[in-house]
Symmetry: C2
Subunit: 248 residues, 2 copies
């Protein structure tokens, strides 16, 4: 079924307000859609695809999708796609609601208002690379279901838990040690690998808010040799996790 | 002087072809323009600014600009700006032509077809952070004078030398050791800090071309704990320079 109201519904999912209301999000392109279907983490509502995508499915994959699969035409895909070049298939998935967070015995990231979806997507992939399973995000952090984040993270989105919370409250409620990425802390290379801890990363231009910074047990800094004013927030996250995550 | 041909000229500088032809590029916003003017690395052709920007200049800064400063109106700035929200001032600078490269006694980056201007900008800032002064770029690497790169790197653009060359030829012509970022190399944490070396970073999706890879003396890999398919190219560059650059 591909009615006017379907088009309107899918277009609305480009906006956070409507994703929040409906509890759904979109993913596009054969690779992303296939990966998210395979992980099974997000319940699939429907898949809108060109005939050639449908034809390329194995019989069992096609049977699994059943009536969720709607074959549409080029011009219809163009109407619902958020991409400048629509890519064969668009799927609607249900958001996953995670509220349970445990900080014990593991590394966790805490993002304090990361605003650029590109940075958030990159950070999710970094977390997945270094085996970090959980990220707590302040309420003003970019939305993990923003189409740009979904497109750039692919299956990492399904493997890393993101929870949007009042991070001040969360950080106050645990005795697990907190490490804040800052410009005036202990040199990162002098900090040992961590079995457990929460690493706080601040906003791209403003850094970590003072009320969050005061909850940190330690400030850590990536030593600077040259003159650059700052490092990109995702790059800093990558370097810190490289140094602190326990690879053994 | 703010004629139709001026508008046309400045608009053309959003495209690489015309930047190459004219040897000029644009920078926008008070912070970027002030920083680039201050470094003096790029010769300034003209500055188009709203009255309030001109009024905020010190008398000596205003005198230095002389006839290069052209005060324009809001709607005129909108015409020439590459930003969705024009920001007080747009300056035209002359590109710097650097051909001289020395690999001896220092760390150098070699970029093999980095295509995303955002990634290139982030890599330039990373180089500047870790004191790397030179980057050789393959001829298909994003243009350092792309407005997005200029906006995101600010003064780092003036402090780091980028040279666009046939990198295969350049790498073949030196005995300085080459380290290639790859998925199947020596674990990065087992590689010692380097006083001298060329670190090769590949394209975002294709990695390093085989003909470049074969010139490397060593492959290095950022160990993966989780399941992410890849790390962002700029993040990988940051982690590698963190580990290998000599901070003492």
């Amino acid at each position: 079924m591909f009615s006017k109201s379907t088009v309107k519904y899918i277009q609305s999912l480009q906006h956070k307000k409507f994703r929040d209301e409906s509890g759904a999000f979109i993913a596009e392109g054969p690779k992303v859609v296939a990966e998210l279907l395979e992980t099974g983490v997000f319940n699939c509502q429907s898949v809108f695809a060109l005939e050639e995508w449908g034809d390329a499915l194995t019989p069992s994959a096609r049977k699994d999708l059943g009536e969720k699969l709607v074959i549409i035409k080029d011009f219809e895909l163009e109407k619902i796609s958020a991409l400048s070049k629509p890519n064969l298939v668009l799927a609607v998935f249900e958001k996953k609601i995670t509220n349970k967070i445990s900080f014990n015995g593991r590394l966790t990231l805490a993002l304090d208002d990361i605003q650029d979806p590109g940075n958030l997507g990159t950070i999710i992939r970094i977390a997945d690379w270094f085996g970090v399973r959980d990220i707590i995000c302040s309420l003003h952090t970019a939305d993990m279901y923003n189409p740009k984040v979904v497109q750039s993270t692919m299956a990492s989105l399904a493997r890393v838990n993101l929870v949007y919370v009042d991070i001040a409250q969360q950080l106050s409620s645990t005795t697990v040690k907190k490490y804040a990425a800052a410009l005036d802390g202990t040199a990162l290379e002098k900090v040992d690998k961590l079995e457990e801890g929460i690493i706080i990363i601040g906003n791209e231009s403003k850094g970590i808010r003072p009320e969050i910074m005061q909850l940190a047990n330690k400030k850590i800094t990536i030593s600077r040799v040259g003159l650059a004013e700052s490092l990109n927030a995702a790059v800093a996250t990558g370097i810190i996790l490289y140094q602190l995550s326990n690879k053994n």
